[in-house]
């Protein structure tokens, strides 16, 4: 359980995290979403006491992180895949981390096996790929078998197999009743992994809801209709105060009325339908709408602007 209350972080005049309040509940995977510079990493660093809040406070499992007597047994953290001395081997890194909490060599060997690092454990971390660095960071987070896991961009740099592995890992950990907070820029990944999403934009919480609710909130929700009598159908639908866009000669996109009503209108007017497909709002579109005004680095060029937002979503 993570409870942030009025958490604020300012660097000089710049406010990175602005009066943020949220709770990350145990037993589910909570996703932390936001464009670059939205304050996700800063918030995560404040949770584990690496950055000092300018105002407000954050508790993990009921206490400030630094007040836990065995912090690695409370919270496992992957904040930065490269938070490791490059000149030390993966095994020795884990051994040194474990030693602070009297964790056995056996457990070190266990987390190495779990994360598939056996073949590189004796190599210096400096030569690791991004994916291996991520696995090592996750191994370190698991060392103390913690109740709460905080993973910043855990799938960054992982191959598809690794992405699937992280997804299974966090879902399994949440199913055991643990608290899992992870951030990702991969919307599709988040849709498949998270149960609950907190969206940050310019340091503020702009949404905090279950995944389904966030998707449903997306305006999207258009119904695609194909008909050889598209013009007549369009007229009938407009009469029913629907918004209609003709995308092809026989294809309409309709919003404002549900698919059932469109079918009834068509039947009433004796119009033949070839297709009637409700489309769900995607997490992508929901997220784009939520953060449209919150992207920090707008470009002057309108085309550049689009590229920038897409970049932020990568």
């Amino acid at each position: 359980m993570i409870e942030a209350t009025n958490l604020t972080k300012r660097y000089g005049k710049k406010t990175a995290v602005d009066d943020v309040t949220f709770t990350v509940e145990p037993g589910r995977v909570t996703g932390f979403l936001g464009p670059n510079g939205a304050g996700k990493s800063t918030t995560m660093r404040m949770i584990v006491g690496l950055d000092r809040p300018t105002a407000g406070r954050v508790r993990v499992n009921g206490r400030a992180y630094a007040e836990h007597r065995a912090p690695l047994a409370e919270v496992g953290t992957l904040l930065d895949a490269k938070a490791v001395h490059t000149g030390r081997t993966a095994y020795n890194h884990l051994l040194a981390m474990a030693a602070t909490h009297g964790i056995s060599k056996k457990r070190v060997a266990e987390v190495i096996e779990m994360t598939g690092l056996e073949s590189v454990a004796g190599k210096r971390v400096g030569g690791f790929s991004l994916g291996m660095g991520q696995r090592l960071g996750i191994a370190a987070a698991l060392l103390g078998d913690p109740q709460t896991l905080i993973l910043d961009e855990p799938v960054n740099g992982l191959d598809p197999e690794g992405v699937l592995w992280v997804r299974n890992l966090v879902r399994f950990l949440a199913s055991q009743g643990r608290t899992v907070l992870l951030s990702s820029h991969l919307m599709s990944e988040m849709a498949q992994t998270a149960d609950h999403i907190i969206v940050l934009g310019r340091g503020k919480v702009i949404a905090d809801a279950p995944v389904g609710e966030i998707v449903a909130r997306a305006a999207g929700g258009a119904v695609v209709v194909r008909s050889p009598q598209a013009a007549a159908l369009e007229e009938a639908l407009r009469a029913a105060s629907a918004a209609v866009t003709q995308t092809e000669s026989d294809r309409l996109e309709v919003t404002g009325v549900p698919a059932e009503r469109i079918g009834e209108i068509a039947a009433g007017a004796g119009i033949v339908l070839h297709e009637l497909t409700p489309t769900n709002g995607s997490l992508e579109s929901a997220y784009m709408q939520l953060t449209a005004d919150e992207v920090e680095y707008h470009s002057e060029n309108p085309l550049g602007h689009v590229a920038q937002e897409q970049g932020a979503l990568r």
């Binding site: 660093r45 006491g49 904040l79 490791v84 001395h85 000149g87 602070t100």
Partner: protein, 282 residues
Amino acid sequence: MTTTFAPATPNPVRPVSFGRVLGSEWIKLRTVRATVWTLSITVLVMAGLAALTGWSTVLMRESDIEVDAILLDMHPASIVNGGWFFAQLVVIILGVLTVTGEYATGMIRSTFAAVPRRSPALLGKAAVLFATVFATSAVAVALSWLVSLPFLGQLDISVDLASAETWRLLGGTALYLATMSVLAFAVGALVRHSAGAIAIVIGLVLVIETVLASIPLRIFELVSPFLPSSAGGRLLMDEVSLSFVSNPDAPVLTPWQGYAVLVGWVVLLLGSALLVTRRRDA
């Protein structure tokens, strides 16, 4: 890769304690190459310079060169520990890298995540560094004594292991080098930048202290005996050298007073580093 993530066996996790932090810091210190390199160089420099000093003293005795009276009165142990000045440059680098290496690589975030109170982590590092440099320097001094034995024999002198001054000079070498490495460590923790911290400490030892000591202004005459290396260095000088480097117009520290002043600097710098590190974002 397995699909279970919980420990297969009961996995006792104990609270963080200073003893465990020491154990962790010892693993960290011995598992990076910089430690192995700098400590090997320390031993080589000490033993090499002991041999060179012994050899050159023999050569001067054998030649017709008018040998300075000072040299003839030199304490035999000063031949053995003659490499201290250069050895300190190497242990300064090790002291700085022990902490700045973690800042440069991001390791410090892992360290402070495991030990969020931070001070035990820094003190643990400093303690392990001190003990390791002390032990290595002691080995280096012993080796230096061995390699200088043939030259001491030719000079018809020997290191009197029963004399207190011998133990001050030889034991003091290990003590001084270990203390200087912790001074460098404290500066590294304050500056958090390898090159910057190395430049500051080596610049202090090689340039600033020497220059200030040679400026004939009253204020510098009064201050320079109390600078870290000038004060601490008195611990490993024999009586002849002590009188030679003492300016009669300036305060004169005994060897142990000098070392106490160096320890004062270390306490001041390390204390500041602890205070600042607790407040700073990692």
